[in-house]
């Protein structure tokens, strides 16, 4: 990528793949606004490593997204934890939150620990193999299997699913 301006390259990349990358980030973060912040954080990392990136910047950007998500990126920001505790001031609605709340899948995903959420999004949205997920998350295939299994089980519980009717629905009822 010698001689190419990183802003131009990444602008072009996002023009083509932006919606898919943002959807991945939104799923990994569990919300639209947090997803945008996650994607921005990953882009900043790419800028920081631009000179050392060899080959495909999209691959590096994706790996960075996965690493940040699995690493509990949001948890490290104290103000997000504080906002979660405080709720919203007064009764003023927040449009972004309202959109997120309407999206039951995001609401359920937000309740999973970062590693479970990351494993599930990588397996079922990014459609990576267990080995690829293990590489992206820096763990063993066995760990991916167990984390994914626990995450799916938790999603089913949260959505009020039971095996008894044999027709599981990912986001039927919310707890």
């Amino acid at each position: 990528m010698d001689g190419e301006q990183p802003v131009d390259v990444l602008e072009e990349l996002l023009a083509v793949k932006g919606r898919h990358l943002l959807r991945t980030a939104v799923l990994l973060a569990g919300g639209q606004e947090d997803g945008e912040d996650l994607l921005q954080a990953a882009l900043e990392r790419v800028f920081g490593r631009w000179r050392t990136i060899r080959g495909d910047p999209e691959g590096y950007l994706r790996r960075t997204l996965y690493h940040l998500a699995a690493d509990g990126w949001r948890r490290k920001q104290a103000w997000r934890a504080r906002l979660g505790l405080l709720g919203r001031p007064g009764a003023q609605p927040d449009d972004t939150g309202a959109v997120d709340d309407r999206d039951q899948l995001l609401r359920l995903l937000r309740q999973l620990p970062p590693r479970q959420r990351t494993a599930i999004v990588l397996r079922y949205w990014e459609e990576l193999t267990e080995a690829q997920v293990a590489q992206a998350m820096g763990c063993s295939v066995g760990t991916v299997k167990s984390v994914t299994s626990r995450g799916l089980r938790r999603l089913r519980e949260l959505s009020g699913l039971a095996d008894h009717d044999g027709t599981p629905q990912p986001t039927g009822r919310t707890s």
């Binding site: 990444l10 882009l43 900043e44 920001q77 104290a78 504080r82 405080l86 709720g87 990912p170 986001t171």
Partner: protein, 274 residues
């Protein structure tokens, strides 16, 4: 796990609404450049180096010469630490660094005095949040929260939030410690005391940290050494705590006017009320 469930999960992921924000790449680039500039500026003035060096020196010093303090049992030390935390009349000032010292490192500054608290955060040297108030979760309490990324601020009463330290299993205390410490600033001492009550700490020797003679307590979580707490061998107040790459440094400040003023932040001009 049902294939049907997985298929529906995929389908619902496809349906999640997203609306790409225009100019995200440029925003990221500006933010990256800004962080670099701030890091360089801080390093030039020595401030950043002092923070980083302080952390590094603390950890390095912790591995240096042991002090000539007589051996004490864990129960004795734990009892004295609990007592010191309960009776201290100083302002507790804590600096918590999350992750390696690079331009993504989050640093949280936490002041506590009686019912008053302040918690502010920087990421890569850039202010992210400032939160101060008193009587969290109690009648007559309130707090102000300033969010720099959103250029907004808000005041909260006491109806929301909780003063209670959330429950946790003792064997996973180490995993939760750094998250717990952000839960309720005025309860930082309670968080440490909860660990002491759990039997999560064990005396592991005596060391010097930042020139202070300390007693080193190792925390076990899930059967493995997970975090370390150093307490002043004279006052029994915490000096430093580490867990993974996260470092928490404690300072105990006398309640002078100047130090008490640090418990209140300011709302930057131009910020809007949320």
């Amino acid at each position: 796990m049902s294939t049907d469930f997985e298929q529906r999960l995929r389908a619902e992921m496809e349906q999640v609404k997203v609306s790409p924000r225009p100019g995200l790449v440029n925003e990221a680039y500006r933010s990256y450049r800004g962080k670099r500039r701030r890091i360089r500026a801080l390093a030039a003035t020595g401030t950043a180096m002092a923070i980083v060096a302080g952390t590094a020196a603390g950890v390095a010093a912790a591995t240096a010469s042991p002090a000539s303090v007589p051996a004490q049992t864990t129960a004795y030390v734990v009892s004295h630490v609990s007592s010191a935390l309960a009776t201290s009349d100083e302002i507790s000032y804590t600096i918590i660094s999350y992750g390696p010292p690079d331009n993504t490192q989050a640093v949280v500054y936490n002041w506590q005095y009686g019912t008053r608290f302040r918690l502010s955060e920087t990421v890569g040297g850039r202010p992210e949040m400032d939160n101060w108030g008193q009587n969290w979760g109690k009648p007559g309490g309130g707090q102000t929260l300033v969010l720099y990324p959103r250029r907004s601020w808000a005041r909260y009463g006491t109806a929301q939030g909780s003063a209670a330290v959330p429950s946790f299993a003792c064997q996973t205390y180490g995993t939760y410690f750094f998250a717990l410490s952000l839960w309720e600033p005025a309860n930082l001492s309670s968080v440490i005391e909860a660990g002491l009550r759990c039997g999560a700490f064990h005396v592991a020797g005596h060391q010097r940290v930042d020139g202070v003679d300390t007693i080193k307590l190792t925390g076990i979580s899930d059967g493995k050494p997970a975090f370390t707490l150093w307490v002043d061998a004279r006052t029994y107040l915490p000096v430093q705590m580490t867990g993974g790459r996260d470092v928490m440094q404690f300072r105990w400040l006398p309640p002078t006017q100047a130090n008490l003023a640090k418990l209140t932040g300011t709302i930057p001009p131009g910020f809007h009320r949320a």
